[in-house]
Symmetry: C2
């Protein structure tokens, strides 16, 4: 009866490598205003269409002047210039500064022709229509030269960059109002199981509500994808295959969650094999939960068969789906996998298997403590109390309390 | 000239406390399907409308039986039961199990009346129409009793809980298809400055594109708020006040970014004072960048006057706006402020001031290193290279290379 469930498990990283060897997604690119592209990933390098700044700018509030006229100035022996007026923000400084004169200028203001430096207000003293310089300034001091920030044609942002507030600002500052970003991956989600009903239904005895479709949709949205719901397949090959095929056709990735019985799990494998070549690449991951996971590529699209148990489905999807979606977008892995914390209790684990353990994080004596959240396997509420997940490594027989661990926040 | 800029700076935490003493937002609540409420915050406690599970469920694949009939069974002396059939997933187990019989049951399947335990498949052996039990099971073994996960009326999730995949799943599992969540805060954003143009315009000499409105809008969206754009105000009281008043009326919070000149900054303060009582509560924060920030409450709405410099505006908004939006939603602070890393270079800082330093994170010799990203103040591209921010504490004269610091990722 269990025979169909004997499979050669592989570590997640290795199984993903196998899958990526058969999956070369070439996502479409769309042209968006950076203001509409938060959290999207650049598909192409962006070069500066113009130099920044476009004109010589003051970096302080002060007086624009000829530096040479300040040389030798000191509090004891100030240099004296006539204040010829004020350079107003937003106005072009057209008229040249004539010798013996200075102009009041604000941070970001444009230097007039003839001026080559700005002296800070704090180093001056007004004297009627004149200004006393209490210190010398060097040519170029407190001035940003045209192109000093960004030269025309310079690389502003590279392909693969995720757009955050600062990248959006940088693009707009340079006058880039359209960027090429990868389209969002469409992820079809199909649950299977004769016992499943949609959440709005009232289950009869023996039935339960399907939640996998919705926890996985939330995960897909969180990762920047678009979930496509394919409903609930009966434990019947034709219904299951028909829905899976439609999801496969409409989406870039397909997520299936198997029914609970062994035969229902076999059905998932059979459905995937029928979706096309090369089919199932790996059946079984060296993880807990999530061991009976299937990784497949069918006709150029990634297909993941997840366990039906809601906790297993969600935790293994985080490990498998998130890297695949990152691969799709071309974004590099994040610089940090998680936060470091001290394990609060001993954790047993079988060697040769990577356990994912939900933990709550607590601050104690200035130390961050990771306390495992135990709960009945399968009960989604176990994860409600968790702040993050920790992985017990493949080659460890468990972890002792006091070990420093890395916790992936969620 | 600088006289208007002398103010009594306060640490951010203290200034926020002052503001919160005058700001008691009472956000509206909306009723949403949990599937549409990802990342939203519950406004009320949610109790279980029904017990979970609703029927006795098997937690394994095996045979449902009367436990007493397995007592004393061993591989040497197996107990024998007749397999009366299979309990199919999703079907109610109406018919009582009669003595001497067992029923094949799948994980999650419903126990029939008369059965009080499930023996795992692995501890059985089929023998024609019979099954040999190789071990005893205790009454209740491998069975989840009705209400054992969640009792009817039990607290499922508390007010203030942010809805992640697992909370959405938990709610749907319990049949909760509507929850009360806080509405998204509307944040009006108004830039000011005669030198500013919208990003799509081509600046003439002396002019630059306004990016603060858009970096701040991205920050607001990231934090779950809705940005409302109020355009660009001239450095003119009437135009500035008119736009600010409209933003104030339409939104729950108002963000202003001041023009660059001292007089433009004074204008921001004057506009805020005119918006209503109690007006400006704090002018000046003990931070760098961001010192000339204004915190105000006007007619029950929080108003923040940010510096015009794009880096300053974005960094101080992260420190001030994010806690205010969290206060609005009622969500507790996150369990972890950031990741710990080792500082890669010495950092000087003035005591009595909290410096925010953008850092890049690098993995070196298994250690996470935080390398400060230096750049000209005001250049938004400085932040493009950064993975996070570190705060140099108020009471420190700087930090030495090798110090363990906490980096807030962004």
């Amino acid at each position: 009866m269990e025979s169909a469930e004997f499979f050669n498990v592989q570590p997640v990283a290795q199984a993903l490598q196998t899958l990526l060897g058969h999956w070369q997604p070439a996502p479409d690119v769309e042209l968006l205003d950076p203001r509409e592209a938060r959290a999207r990933v650049l598909a192409r390098d962006v070069h500066a269409p113009e130099e920044m700044p476009a004109f010589p700018r003051s970096t302080v509030d002060g007086y624009a002047l000829r530096a040479a006229e300040s040389f030798g100035a000191s509090p004891a022996l100030p240099a004296l210039l006539r204040v010829a007026g004020e350079l107003r923000m937003g106005e072009a400084a057209d008229e040249a500064l004539t010798p013996g004169n200075a102009l009041l200028i604000h941070t970001g203001g444009m230097l007039p022709p003839g001026a080559d430096a700005v002296i800070m207000l704090e180093r001056t003293q007004t004297l009627g229509d004149d200004v006393e310089l209490l210190a010398p300034v060097a040519p170029g001091e407190n001035v940003l030269q045209p192109g000093e920030d960004v030269a025309r044609g310079a690389l502003l942002l590279g392909a693969g960059q995720t757009l955050r507030a600062q990248e959006i600002g940088g693009l707009l500052a340079a006058g880039v109002t359209h960027v090429s970003v990868r389209v969002r991956p469409r992820v079809a989600i199909l649950s299977s199981g004769d016992e499943l009903l949609p959440p709005e239904a009232t289950p009869a005895p023996g039935q339960i509500r399907d939640i996998n479709a919705h926890t996985l949709a939330a995960l897909v949205s969180e990762a920047g994808g678009t979930p496509l719901h394919c409903g609930i397949a009966r434990d019947d090959f034709d219904d299951y295959f028909d829905r899976a095929q439609r999801g496969h056709a409409a989406a870039d990735l397909l997520l299936l969650t198997a029914g609970s019985s062994v035969s229902a799990r076999d059905l998932t494998r059979a459905v995937i094999e029928r979706l096309g070549a090369p089919g199932v690449l790996q059946h079984g991951l060296a993880v807990r939960p999530g061991k009976p996971t299937l990784l497949a590529v069918c006709e150029g699209k990634a297909v993941i068969g997840l366990p039906g148990n809601p906790v297993s489905a969600l935790l293994v999807a985080r490990q498998v789906l998130l890297p695949l979606l990152r691969h799709w977008s071309g974004a590099p892995p994040p610089p940090v996998a998680g936060v470091r914390a001290v394990l609060g209790s001993n954790l047993a684990s079988a060697s040769g298997r990577e356990d994912t353990v939900p933990v709550r994080l607590l601050e104690r004596d200035g130390q961050l403590l990771a306390e495992p959240v135990f709960g009945k396997s399968g009960l989604i509420f176990t994860l409600v109390g968790a702040d993050g997940l920790l992985q017990v490594p493949l080659d460890s027989g468990g972890l002792r309390a006091g070990t420093v661990v890395e916790v992936q926040l969620f």
